[in-house]
Amino acid sequence: MDRVRLATVWLGGCSGCHMSFLDMDEWLIDLAPHIDLVYSPLADAKEYPDGVDVALVEGAVANEENRHMAKVLRKRSKVVVSFGDCAVNGNVTAMRNPLGKSLEVLRTSYLLESAGTGLKLPDDREIVPVLLDKVLPLHAVVPVDHYLPGCPPPAARIRAIVEDLLAARTPSRAAELIRFG
């Protein structure tokens, strides 16, 4: 059997899902012969490659760069998995949404006006990616094939879905595997 070309992507999230991925510990050794990790924060690849079989996408779509990346990975991947609550439902990343549009969020977060420091808001599009007015779950931007909730999803849950996908099975939707939080 050919090795599965696996990618993991980190959008607007805390990287906790990737930490949980690493928590699969020695099973990663078992996994290694079956996959090529072609793109990941854990690997040294600058460009999202073509022909990815499975992409685990952590994080919500919070800024222009996230949105661009989501579209690129969707175009170049066969199976896209929303990996963790931020990708699935926005989660903590999306807690800024009720605060208003991006500028209001930045104002509220940096308290510059009230602090009277005269400092500049970090909204320079030449330097940092521009925030979207609303943080979105991944599937609100591109079609998603499977959902892996959890904050972060426990290692066992990640292993279960990866095993299913490697075996070309439809991932189980058992309650203990899809609980939010």
């Binding site: 579209k71 969707r74 175009k75 591109v142 079609p143």
Partner: protein
């Protein structure tokens, strides 16, 4: 009050009448375009011309042709004037004795009037709604007297035999409802008149309450006697101040005359009526929410059963009918069930009032026998569109109803036929649309209304309508894809099938009916998908029923 006295009042009122009357509509529509001033000037002109012995100027209820208001009529010659100004009043009075007037004449024999069959609105435009004598003179309260000569169960049998069905929209057989309340063990029972008319574009009940408040009271009294109730409530929305004023005056007059209160027509029958004013929630037209509101609670519906007929106001058996339903009763009592049952179709008896609005030439109120086609109402009575454009669709039943395409205008108006083509009779709103009207926008308008008016109790209605409105907005802004359209239809089905009360259950009707008949308009707004999506395999059948 006994029957002789009733007849004496009628005789006296008729004897008092002058040979000629000049009648000015004083109901809400004409009043809004200045009819109060017109009436004042008419009265002044009659006096100034020394005509007080032969002519009176009186305020009357709505003759129906609201788009021509203020409307003035001369009696008995049948002259009719429209868009009358206060300045024209003098000329109209002069015209009665052969003078000239520049007031615009209306043909009283045009189909709008000729093709109507008036049962409920029989006296509208002819009597002064503010005087009980005026109502008694045309046979008012005779129906109540007749009813009191029978046993309550005989009246229920009559109403059942008449085939009358609820005019509030759902068309539940009135006799069956009455029978349920009547058969409940004796004890405190209530009668409620639902005057919370809230559909956009509907004003039938307003006109009945304004034009014939005594007729509503008489109908309620007959019902109360039939089911064994001694207390009635009329629930009127606060947006109808004139209806409230006239009903209140009518209650006072009827009580004073002994037609409400104790020992009515010298029988042991006792009946009192109070008005309850609604605070502007559409959902309070739903009977269980209305009952909660009358009790002073938050106006939210509760699940049925138990039906109000078994356990309603303060958990007592309660008969709740719509204004038009009650206003139909006196005529049935006077003329008999067979007379009424001879009007209309096999399963929808009698007449129905519609408020014709939108792009129609003759906007106003029409009362026609059930079974009249939509085409007759819209094209003959309504005169088609105001600017001669083709009629595109007719919306019936307001936010709970559907849009009927012009191709189906030959459908007879009855409960079953309208249901079959995806709309409802509803309370009687009829909005005419032409080809400048965009159906997805119409659907969005009604969904916005439902989302605003949802009481918030059950989840599918509270949140579903908001999501539906969002999807429709996305659609009309040309941002939606086929995927969104599929989601729209699925959500419509959810809201229809799972909502707690009629508001939610019927909220998707304007969307589903416009998708059914005007799918191309929706398709034309769709944008291509940026990414291919797998086909959706919905497990929701088009109807679970």
């Amino acid at each position: 009050m006994d029957h002789d006295e009733l007849l004496r009042i009628a005789d006296a009122e008729r004897a008092k009448a002058k040979p000629n009357e000049i009648r000015c509509c004083t109901s809400s529509g004409c009043r809004a375009s200045g009819s109060a001033d017109v009436l004042k000037q008419l009265k002044a002109s009659v006096a100034a011309n020394g005509l007080n012995d032969t002519l009176t100027a009186v305020g009357v209820g709505c003759p129906g042709l609201c788009s021509a208001g203020p409307v003035v009529m001369s009696h008995p010659d049948g002259g009719m004037f429209g868009k009358v100004t206060a300045e024209q009043a003098k000329g109209i009075v002069a015209a009665l004795s052969g003078g000239a007037t520049d007031a615009q004449r209306i043909d009283p024999n045009q189909p709008f009037f000729r093709k109507q069959f008036r049962v409920v609105r029989a006296t509208a435009g002819q009597i002064d709604p503010e005087r009980i004598e005026s109502y008694i003179a045309v046979g008012g309260y005779e129906g109540l007297y007749q009813a009191l000569q029978k046993r309550p169960d005989e009246i229920v049998t009559d109403v059942t035999a008449s085939g009358l069905r609820g005019r509030g929209g759902a068309g539940y057989p009135t006799g069956l409802k009455w029978a349920t309340v009547e058969k409940m063990p004796p004890g405190q029972k209530y009668v409620i008149c639902n005057g919370d008319e809230g559909d956009p574009g509907a004003f039938m009940d307003r006109s009945v309450m304004e034009d014939a408040p005594h007729q509503v009271l008489e109908g309620m009294a007959i019902a109360a006697y039939a089911v064994g109730a001694n207390q009635g409530f009329i629930y009127v929305r606060a947006e109808y101040p004139l209806a409230i004023e006239r009903l209140q005056a009518a209650i006072t007059q009827a009580t004073k005359a002994g037609l409400l209160g104790a020992n009515i027509f010298q029988t042991p029958f006792e009946f009192k009526v109070e008005i309850r004013i609604g605070a502007g929630a559409f959902v309070c037209g739903e009977e269980t929410a209305l009952i909660a509101s009358v009790q002073g609670l938050r106006g939210t519906p509760r699940p049925r059963p138990p039906y109000p007929a078994e356990s309603g106001l303060w958990d007592r058996p309660t008969l709740i009918n719509n204004v038009e339903t009650f206003a139909t009763i006196p005529a049935i009592s006077r003329n008999g069930a067979a007379w009424f049952a001879a009007i209309g179709t096999d399963r929808s008896k009698g007449t129905k009032i519609f408020s014709l609005t939108g792009k129609v030439k003759n906007a106003g109120l029409v009362e026609v026998p059930m079974g009249t086609t939509l085409r007759a109402v819209v094209e003959e009575l309504g005169g088609g569109t105001a600017d001669g454009k083709a009629v595109k669709a007719v919306q019936t039943g307001g936010p709970s109803g559907g849009c009927i395409p012009a191709s189906l205008l030959d459908t007879p108006i009855d409960y079953e036929s309208l249901g079959k083509i995806g709309s409802i009779m509803g309370s009687g709103g009829m909005i005419v649309m032409d080809d400048t009207d965009r159906m997805p926008e119409v659907a969005r308008f009604f969904m916005e209304f439902c989302a605003d008016e949802s009481c918030g109790k059950c989840v599918p209605c509270r949140v579903g309508t908001v999501q539906l409105h969002g999807l429709l907005t996305k659609l009309v802004e040309r941002k939606a894809t086929r995927h969104d359209l599929d989601t729209l239809v699925e959500l419509c089905q959810l809201v229809r099938d799972t909502s707690l009360c009629g508001l939610g259950q019927s909220a998707p009707n304007p969307v589903l009916s416009t998708i059914r008949y005007f799918a191309a308009e929706y398709e034309a707004l769709l944008q291509p998908e940026e990414f291919a999506r797998p086909p959706r395999a919905s497990v929701i059948p088009l109807s679970v029923v």
